[in-house]
Symmetry: C2
């Protein structure tokens, strides 16, 4: 009997935002895999730290954080091979994913490599998208609003043209693209309706109106929410 | 001491997709409020049925399912008044929301009415958006994809123009708009990349390629996912 690979969303940061299903799978996992940076730190692992059982085997996967793809490809090939060994020995592997596995997550690269030959299941999680809106205390979208999720690395023209006809937008992965995004929003006169949420539901969360943010970069896990749909009734 | 109103996302249908936080609040709720239709049936209440404690007071809220707004407005005004009475007596009220409270949910109408005068908190939940992708086994969006969430009641031209430049799109609330949406997708030659997920994570869930769906309407809780981003690597 071959094991199953579970891609498990662990939510945006607050451990209480794990689903019951994620909690069950993590607390009973034979093998726990998770992405870590070059220093060995993994955000997903940190989120679920209190739930990890001492008998679980750990499989930290170092993913190079470069814009070139080939080092990351090699890392996923290698990780898929290691996970495959566990699966073929009949051990289930739980791969921890920040937020949701299929919402701009890296789990898909492992899924793509293993799904043809092994049983793979995806457990959805709370995304930072709705967590940011909850913490901000403003609806994300209502009724027939068009909602757009726009990665901040897109160029200014692409961002601008998408923002022109959206009632609601979330700009994700803000990081070093912050000033470019702010300039786009200023040109569209959207600054007054824009808020930035950093590290949503984490202990160091911050929420500010866009025009209160000092010049410079922001953390990677920052989201700018813009809402100009109809006001609620 | 005044009570707190919690808008709690209960996810797309599988009770195991509740968050630990939702579970804690629901199992300890003094007052449980939830939307019901004219027949007294409430989907959110059904999802969490097994977790409801016998001592919780129930506050079902009948929301008219009409396109005209004034009957719904009256219903929300009345519901806000009833919830307010509990809060002012020091009882917390947990309002159950399908999916996520601020993602096309109706909780925002109560939030708007009560947030100025009472303590209101929002607990995000798993949306049908990511649950559909998980069940389908295809990523929703990756890297710098633009992801659009488009309500099916939008007119064909609006849908068409938004779909022309999205790597990924989810068309929600399909229901009686199915054939209009299918025609738009056919015109854009997107039918081959489109899937429809009905009742995601519920016992009667179905998943089909769009070109396998017979003519006619679909249920309200149907989502069409279109993905034409770069393939994973």
């Amino acid at each position: 009997m071959s094991g199953t690979l579970y891609g498990v969303g662990v939510g945006p940061g607050d451990p209480e935002l794990l689903t019951l299903k994620a909690h069950r799978l993590i607390t009973s996992a034979a093998v726990l895999a998770y992405p870590v940076n070059a220093e060995g730190y993994g955000f997903a692992q940190q989120i679920v730290g209190e739930f990890i059982q001492s008998e679980s085997v750990h499989l930290p996967i170092t993913i190079p954080m470069k814009t070139e793809r080939s080092p990351a490809r090699c890392a996923y090939d290698q990780a898929a091979k290691e996970i495959g060994v566990h699966l073929e020995s009949g051990r289930d592997v739980v791969f921890l994913c920040e937020g949701d596995p299929f919402f701009f997550g890296s789990f898909m690269y492992l899924f793509e490599r293993l799904n043809g030959t092994h049983t793979c299941k995806v457990v959805p999680g709370v995304t930072s998208l709705t967590a940011c809106a909850a913490e901000l205390g403003r609806p994300l979208a209502a009724r027939n609003d068009v909602l757009k999720v726009l990665p901040a690395p897109l160029d200014a023209n692409a961002l601008s043209s998408e923002l022109q006809n959206a009632q609601s937008a979330a700009i994700i992965k803000v990081g070093r693209h912050f000033e470019k995004v702010r300039a786009v929003l200023e040109n569209l006169e959207l600054t007054e309706q824009a808020w930035i949420v950093e590290a949503a539901t984490n202990p160091h969360q911050t929420i500010r109106a866009l025009n209160e943010v000092p010049e410079g970069e922001r953390p990677y896990f920052s989201t700018i929410l813009i809402y100009r749909g109809e006001e609620p009734w």
